[in-house]
């Protein structure tokens, strides 16, 4: 909101009611209420004796010189720092160097102090630690308050979040509360040599176009950063950072959302046309049992299983899983074709996949013509190794 009243801080003094030139403020239950006549002029903000009236309009034209340092917001899940946080540190280190400013990691959670050393050893100069029983993992409201309050106090030039589901629902709330810009799901970040603005590049139009975005007059500059793109720095054992505790002032309303339970690994079968990853099999899979191997691979990747017309006709998969001219057309991010020769009828249903991996024993199989990555080998030898390698890789973002 452009101008709003922090209910808990309002003393009910009514000064603002008189200060408002538009008569947009009235009292209800002893607290000031701003109605739609408000044009965000800010007269009430200055009149308020307790600082209960906030405005984000001021941030629209920030004095950019007052904002310093690059912040990365660390994310923990199930009590561990996520690898994407280390990638953010790696990326933030480069930006901080280019700006000749400090790289600060923001650690907010119930019990997160123990991760401060990790942050330091992966590149942070400063670690801000905010601990509170209300800062449970994945809760947007308390985290938004903690980070916003810290950013208001410290005035960072740049704040980066991971573009994980949590980061992508937290960062917009912080940006709205600060009244600053936010660029989603960036795949490249840099500093403009002349202006020192953050240059944020992201895919748009379903990946058909890349756009570079910047926020010349607004601070902090905020982005969510796609996991898996930036490189983490190797751990530098013994590297030290200033560890600074910050106060957290959560409010009762920050607990308006409660997580009842997390049912792990429960996934509904996704419509093939909406699947992000598809593991598909053809004649080379050879049997229903063969498809069990593909299902295992799909489970590790969070993928859907599909197949060719032959696989359906042989009864190895059901008809709703058929890809191709007489089946469905799919365009996942990743299509792994196992034992599929790649007849034109099949290719017409999957050539739109962004990345195609083909595993086939026949080096002349047409599928290799449209594949991005060609694995000319026996799927029954490669796929089990692939499953093992994916499992060994552990928790990645």
């Amino acid at each position: 909101m452009a101008v709003w009243v922090e209910k808990d801080d309002c003393a009910g003094c009514e000064t603002c009611v008189e200060a408002c030139p538009l008569g947009a403020i009235s009292m209800r239950d002893g607290l000031a209420i701003i109605d739609e006549k408000c044009n965000s002029c800010g007269a009430c903000v200055e009149s308020c004796s307790t600082g209960a009236i906030k405005s984000d309009a001021a941030a629209a034209k920030a004095d950019t010189s007052q904002y310093r340092d690059v912040w990365i917001v660390a994310e923990t899940r199930h009590g561990r720092v996520r690898p994407c946080t280390l990638e953010l540190l790696g990326c933030g280190r480069g930006l901080a160097n280019a700006l000749d400013q400090r790289l600060c990691a923001v650690l907010a959670g119930k019990e997160v102090k123990g991760f401060a050393a990790d942050m330091a050893e992966h590149g942070a100069d400063v670690v801000y630690v905010m601990e509170d029983a209300g800062l449970e993992e994945g809760r947007t409201l308390p985290h938004a308050r903690a980070i916003t309050d810290a950013a208001r106090e410290k005035k960072p030039a740049v704040v980066l979040f991971s573009a994980t589901p949590f980061g992508r629902e937290l960062a917009p709330r912080v940006s709205r509360r600060l009244g600053t810009g936010l660029t989603a799901d960036c795949t490249e970040l840099g500093i403009d040599g002349a202006t020192k603005n953050l240059l944020q590049t992201r895919p748009a139009w379903g990946g058909n176009l890349m756009a570079t975005i910047y926020s010349p007059d607004s601070r902090p500059q905020m982005s969510t950063v796609r996991p898996g793109v930036m490189k983490a720095l190797p751990r530098e054992p013994g590297r030290k950072a200033d560890i600074v505790g910050l106060k957290v002032n959560l409010k009762a309303e920050d607990a308006r959302l409660q997580v009842v339970e997390l049912k792990k690994g429960l996934r509904k079968k996704v419509d093939l046309t909406e699947a992000k990853i598809i593991v598909s099999g053809g004649n080379g899979v050879g049997s229903k049992e063969g498809f069990k191997l593909l299902e295992e691979l799909a489970a590790v990747l969070g993928a859907e299983v599909a197949g060719t017309r032959i696989a359906v006709e042989e009864g190895w998969i059901t008809a709703d899983r058929q890809v191709g001219q007489t089946g469905q057309s799919v365009c996942p991010d990743l299509y792994i074709a196992c034992g599929i020769s790649g007849a034109i009828q099949h290719r017409s249903g999957m050539a739109g996949a962004k990345t195609i991996v083909a595993i086939n024993t026949d080096p002349n199989a047409p599928i290799f013509q449209i594949a991005d990555i060609a694995v000319n080998a026996d799927l029954f030898k490669v796929v089990p190794e692939l499953i093992a390698a994916l499992r060994a890789r552990g928790d990645e973002c």
């Binding site: 739609e36 629902e169 917009p172 709205r176 989603a184 975005i213 792990k264 996934r267 000319n376 030898k381």
Partner: protein
Amino acid sequence: MYRDARLGVAELDVIVLVKQVPNTAEVKIDPRTGTLMREGVESIINPDDLHALEAGLRLRESHGGRVTAVSMGPPQAMDALREALGMGADAAVLLTDRAFAGADTLATSYTLGKCIRKLGRFDLVVAGHQAIDGDTAQIGPQVAEYLDVPQVIRATRLEVRDGELHAERTHEDGVEAVRCALPALVTVTREANKPRYPYIPRLMAAFDPNAPIKTWGPKDIGADERLIGLKGSPTQVQKTFTPKLEKKVEKLSGQPAEMARALVGRLKERRLA
């Protein structure tokens, strides 16, 4: 929420955010200039928003109340709202004005938030998880923040019980069941439901000049001109370019285990594993 202590009735005021988008599946890039060829590309209701409308309509069907569709866009976005009425929305608001143009997500969330405040009481705002033209998924949380209500993002199931929103949402590692106070904002994914088709007589009626669609500009919602459209947008586009598209086949070699490890590396680079 309307409550009647004697009758125990609770009706829901639901606002659904709708965006009209070009069908990106049809958008082509001019190979010479590297720019988007938008001519002749049909405009559609953003796919996730159809699921948001369906979710809103189902809530109204089980609780009573009203569904109001809100869209910001050029005058032709009226078609999206007519379709929303055809599906069953009770009323609609089109926010259209040159001053709204060029808005980034911050300015858009301000504009939509102002409009929702102007509409008055609401129990739930429902939006699609993300739009296919921008893919930012920022509008939902930013509108929630503006309205100072909690949010449930990526809901696949939702119901209102005992004055609270109960929802399930997908996470990287499972399905999370959450409980949330009303009023609230929820964004839904395509797994949430199957959207109904517009009912043709209702769709026809939406073309009537007396159809319940309001057209509002900045003054109607009391918006500060400095906070809307291009002027209210802190982010600016510096340049756009087309990603390299040429396909180069990479052949992996070696023992199966080596190939598998190399493949995992490639998938990781492409953020696919």
